[in-house]
């Protein structure tokens, strides 16, 4: 199951002080950004992508994944302290975290959150370590027809985006696909570049992501005085430690929530938010003290936080093996892979197994450090929220623009950040989901390339090939279900609420 030689080589490659330092720095950044509502760990990854451009692949991914890990926990801090989930994945944490704060137990709640995040993350990383090799070997059997359907399957995530409705999501997604197909084609023709030589390689991913996610958010924040209102400064180390210890009182909850987290995380359509909500529901269903949920039950926090960090392992497996990003963070990590000159897909893990094993090992190390970094940040959380947007926004916008410039040393890329910032801001204002545009932008070119290869391989029998190859057929069925299920579920829910 595990290629032990590559794993040991990867561990040896990882073992140096610089990588440990990067983990601590990444975790710190992720936790802080994740803790600020409106800002997320994915913003941290977006901002730091250009910085990793000059790094070797291993330290680059170690750093970015540490931000990812930190970001998944960070949302819990404000969720517990001020009833505001720092990131969508922490929505379920507010349900019992804030009532605990109201009862004067915020330290314990934060301890529970950091403890269960760590354990959930560790289980997720372990599953990733165990399944990635067989998954990659299986995925290697995929030809261009299968890869095309996989890309289409990834695009079906769009149909499950709730914001704005089904048709608008598809419309935005197709807009993203068109943007993604700009550039030189595999046959050497210029497509959709409108004569701009900077677009020959296509729309660069990093400026597009920074613009759509980070800068559009800054335009929204400009109208607010503070990122989040009201603060609560707490300093109670022993309470936090007590909370961490209490996590171990719920072993079944941890196992169940981790399993849900990894599984849902691996599905491209879902992600950490759905994972934590599902786990919370299940914890409530299985609990003996159902009536205590929503009133400050420790089990609720453990379920939500274990699950959202466990989803990281599942999401990374899908992203690394199939090249499908299930969330904004993994989309940005995929951008980092492309930026390193690697080609996402099943071959990636076979070709770069040593480095990727090193990265997975770094996740274990990072999660152990999460207790320390998460605890420290929790203590000083109040101060970060106190920074007014009039100071925060100008600093972040300059960092975002210069960061994008630095990826190719082109001012054009900084201008793209601005343009995509405006596009993202306007789309969001009008209830168009930007995650749909981003998915189209990333998966569009893959679908285009694989379709071209399929046609070149099968000629006039391409259409038949899609249905006669067994893996392809199964994938088609899954894809169709992926589109139809959310629509059916929505109808059923509507009927239920109506009745």
């Amino acid at each position: 199951m595990i290629d032990w030689q590559s794993l040991f080589d990867g561990i040896i490659l990882f073992m140096n002080w610089f990588n440990i330092l990067l983990i601590i720095l990444g975790l710190f950044l992720g936790v802080v950004l994740g803790a600020i509502p409106g800002l997320t760990g994915s913003l941290g990854i977006a901002l730091m992508l250009p910085v990793t451009f000059t790094m070797d692949p291993l330290p680059a991914f170690v750093f970015l994944i540490a931000i990812y890990t930190g970001g998944l926990f960070g949302g819990a801090i404000t969720a517990v302290l001020i009833n505001t989930p720092g990131s969508p994945a922490a929505v379920a944490t507010t349900l019992d975290g804030y009532p605990m704060t109201q009862k004067g137990q915020s330290g314990k709640a934060l301890g529970l959150a950091v403890g269960s995040s760590t354990i959930g993350g560790l289980i997720g990383a372990l599953v990733l370590l165990l399944i990635i090799q067989p998954l990659a070997t299986f995925a290697l059997k995929f030809g261009p027809t299968e890869m095309f359907i996989v890309a289409l399957f990834g695009l079906t995530i769009i149909s499950s985006v709730q914001e704005g409705g089904f048709i608008k999501s598809i419309f935005a997604g197709l807009f993203g696909v068109l943007l993604g197909t700009i550039g030189m084609t595999d046959t050497g023709a210029m497509r959709g570049t409108f004569g701009n030589v900077y677009l020959l390689d296509g729309i660069p991913m990093i400026p597009a992501l920074i613009g759509l996610f980070a800068v559009s958010e800054l335009f929204f924040l400009a109208d607010k005085q503070f990122v989040a209102k009201n603060t609560s400064e707490q300093s109670y180390m022993s309470e936090i430690l007590n909370g961490i210890k209490r996590v171990f009182k719920y072993p079944f909850n941890i196992i169940r929530s981790s399993a849900i987290g990894v599984f849902v995380g691996a599905l491209p359509a879902a992600g950490s938010t759905i994972a934590s909500l599902l786990s919370y529901n299940e914890a409530k269903r299985f609990s003996k003290k159902k009536e205590m949920f929503g009133k400050g039950n420790e089990e609720g926090i453990v379920a939500a936080e274990t699950s959202n960090n466990a989803s990281e392992g599942g999401a990374l497996a899908t992203m690394l093996v199939l090249g499908i990003p299930g969330s904004a963070s993994t989309a940005m990590l995929l951008g980092a892979i492309i930026m390193q000159g690697w080609v996402p897909g099943p071959r990636l893990f076979i070709d770069q197994s040593t480095i990727l094993y090193g990265v997975i090992f770094s996740m274990f190390v990072g999660l152990l450090f999460l207790i320390l970094v998460g605890g420290v940040v929790s203590l000083g959380a109040g101060h970060v929220i106190n920074i007014p947007t009039r100071i925060l926004v100008p600093i972040i916008v300059i960092f975002a623009l210069i960061g994008a410039f630095a990826t190719r040393n082109l001012l054009f890329d900084a201008i793209l950040v601005f343009i995509f910032g405006i596009i993202g801001w306007y789309l969001r204002r009008n209830k168009y989901p930007i995650i749909a545009v981003v998915l189209g932008l990333i998966l569009g070119p893959i679908a285009d390339k694989e379709l071209l290869k399929s046609v070149q391989l099968h000629g006039s029998e391409t259409l038949m090939a899609f249905f006669t190859r067994p893996v392809s057929l199964v994938l088609i069925i899954i894809t169709v279900l992926g589109v139809l299920l959310p629509i059916i579920m929505e109808r059923v829910n509507k009927k239920k609420t109506a009745s």
Binding site: V51, T54, G165, I167, K168, I170, F171, A172, L174, F175, V177, L178, T181, T185, T187, A189, R191, G192, T193, F194, L218, F219, A222, D223, Q225, P388, T389, R390, I391, V393, P394, I395, V397, I398, F399, L401, I402, F405, A406, N409, L411, A414, I415, F418, I422, Y426, L427, R429, N430, K431, Y432, G444, A447, D448, L451, L452, V455, Q456
Partner: protein, 166 residues
């Protein structure tokens, strides 16, 4: 300005988004019409036609939603959503100054343009303390310059005018 605000209701804004995407698609279709190899349009062509098909459905959906709102909620909610759809002066100045910053950076370089842009943006967003308006931009510029130029070896723009002078 007031008249423009009256015209630009949330409904109109949503129509603008859909229509802008449609116009982009039309331009894209026109741009690729010169491509001779059909293989270059394998995926693009169906995508374009689906966008054309979806456009009228979206317009109809938006229209239906507008009608629904008009009949159910009436004035208060409408006024609220209109207020939220307005572009505030702050955000407008933020956008314009950012664009100007990027254009200026090309000519006068990173250092001078950042030292000019950052205090302006901070002031627009409501910073009044002169100390902060002077110290923070200088500190940020120096940190970023050192980080990129010295630590990461990525030269930041010097500007066409000042190239070779600094």
């Amino acid at each position: 300005m007031g008249k423009l605000r009256n015209i630009l209701t949330p409904f109109v804004h949503r129509i603008i988004v859909a229509t802008s995407i449609l116009i982009f698609t039309l331009l894209y279709l026109f741009e690729i019409s010169s491509l001779k190899n059909a293989q270059d349009k394998l995926l693009v062509n169906p995508v374009i036609w689906i966008i054309f098909l979806l456009y009228p459905i979206i317009i109809w959906q938006e229209w239906r939603e507008k009608r629904k709102k008009e009949t159910t909620h009436e004035a208060t909610n409408e006024a609220e959503s209109e207020a939220s759809s307005r572009l505030s002066k702050k955000v407008f100045l933020f956008m314009i100054s950012t664009l100007l910053y990027l254009v200026l950076m090309n000519y006068i370089g990173f250092i001078i343009s950042t030292i000019a842009f950052m205090p302006f943006l901070m002031w627009v967003l409501g910073t009044s303390s002169k100390k902060i308006l002077i110290i923070l931009p200088i500190a940020t510029t120096v940190v970023l310059y050192l980080l990129f130029n010295n630590l990461l070896g990525i030269p930041l723009p010097q500007g066409i005018i000042l190239q070779g002078v600094l």
